[in-house]
Amino acid sequence: MNTCSCPECAAELTLPDNAMEHEIIPCQDCGTELEIVSLSPARVELAPEIEEDWGE
């Protein structure tokens, strides 16, 4: 099981089996948006703020 801790609330996070680097996931405890920056070892950072030119 791939786990790490939330940088916002320190809760233990379990990454989904199909998790990918650069994927945005919510913390299962505090709901903060996090970016997966590494899978091995598992590591997340606070997701970047939405920038003005972001979109589809």
Binding site: N18, M20, E21, E23, I24, E52, D53, W54, G55
Partner: protein, 298 residues
């Protein structure tokens, strides 16, 4: 087919990218995922330089641009195309779609019905433009997405306030005052998905709010692709250069279907279930056909 080398350029991985990766995998292809934040490109050299994947850019048969960051995606496309690499969507398409004013011009040239739109560069002339459109009207930034910073302007007093805020607080792009006639929608708009020469499916986006983007809470249901909608959307897609595009369409009570905006890195996470169309599979099959028809497989 599995020898094909594909790079997908991302800012971060959205649900759409995961669906696309799964569709590529089902066809025996594992794309290299390249984060635009990792790019460091020598602009005076060529495609022989290494990508962050440690593979020369020229080894890719296709670079599929899916950046959330419009500016990064546009510059990356410009670079890759200048090197002669296969990209989707093409730079010209992305550049037109990323700019609402340019989109309006392209649709006008092609005779595509759309809401009346005006532009002014001075706040007094912007007030004139809004009066010319008549209230209510809609002020939009020329760049941006997800319904951000759209303003329905109901009267001159509101217009004066919004324009002063934009002039004072905004950067130079907010001083381009692009305004559209307000269309009194029937509680929904239409998003149609065009892939190559086909309108593969469409959804209604329902909302009590005048902004119906699903990013703002609009609910998706299937919208039948009628011959009228199909023809309109394909014409609009061709007007901006074609490719993989999401066309936003308004139902005007008197003038019928009007093209509102076109998106070049479309999101579709909520659209395959209501339409029953595997959008990711359609997109991936199109990208592979495009590479095959180009005859350039590294």
């Amino acid at each position: 087919m599995s020898d094909m080398r594909v790079a997908v350029l991302i800012t971060h991985v959205r649900p759409e990218e995961k669906l696309l990766f799964a569709a590529f995998a089902a066809r025996g292809i594992t794309p290299d995922v390249i984060a635009d934040g990792d790019l460091n490109i020598d602009l005076t050299a060529g495609p022989e330089q290494l990508a962050p994947s440690r593979i020369p850019w020229q080894a890719y048969d296709l670079i599929f641009e899916r950046s959330v960051s419009t500016s990064r995606g546009l510059y990356a496309l410009a670079i890759f195309e200048s090197w002669g690499l296969n990209v989707i969507n093409r730079y010209v398409t992305a550049a037109v779609c990323a700019d609402k004013l340019q989109t309006t011009l392209a649709l006008t040239r092609a005779g595509v019905p759309q809401p009346t739109a005006r532009v002014a560069f001075d706040t007094d002339r912007a007030l004139d433009a809004l009066a010319d459109l008549s209230y209510p009207a809609v002020l939009k930034p020329v760049t941006g997405s997800w319904g951000r910073l759209l303003a329905r302007v109901d009267n001159r007093t509101a217009a004066e306030a919004i324009l002063e805020h934009r002039q004072t607080l905004g950067n130079y792009t907010h001083h381009v005052y692009y305004a559209q006639a307000f269309v009194d929608k029937p509680g929904r708009d239409i998003r149609a998905f065009v892939v190559g020469e086909r309108t593969i499916c469409a959804i209604y986006r329902h909302s009590q709010h005048w902004i119906t983007n699903t990013a703002r809470g609009g609910q998706a249901t299937n919208c039948p692709v009628t011959p009228e909608l199909d023809a309109l959307c394909r014409t609009a897609a061709n007007a901006v250069g074609g490719g993989i595009l999401a066309i936003d369409v308004l139902e005007h009570p008197e003038h019928g279907l009007l093209v509102n905006e076109i998106n070049h890195t479309m999101e579709f996470r909520n659209s395959s279930v209501p339409t029953g169309v595997d959008i990711a599979a359609e997109v991936v099959d199109y990208t592979l056909r495009t590479v095959e028809s180009s005859g350039v497989v590294a």
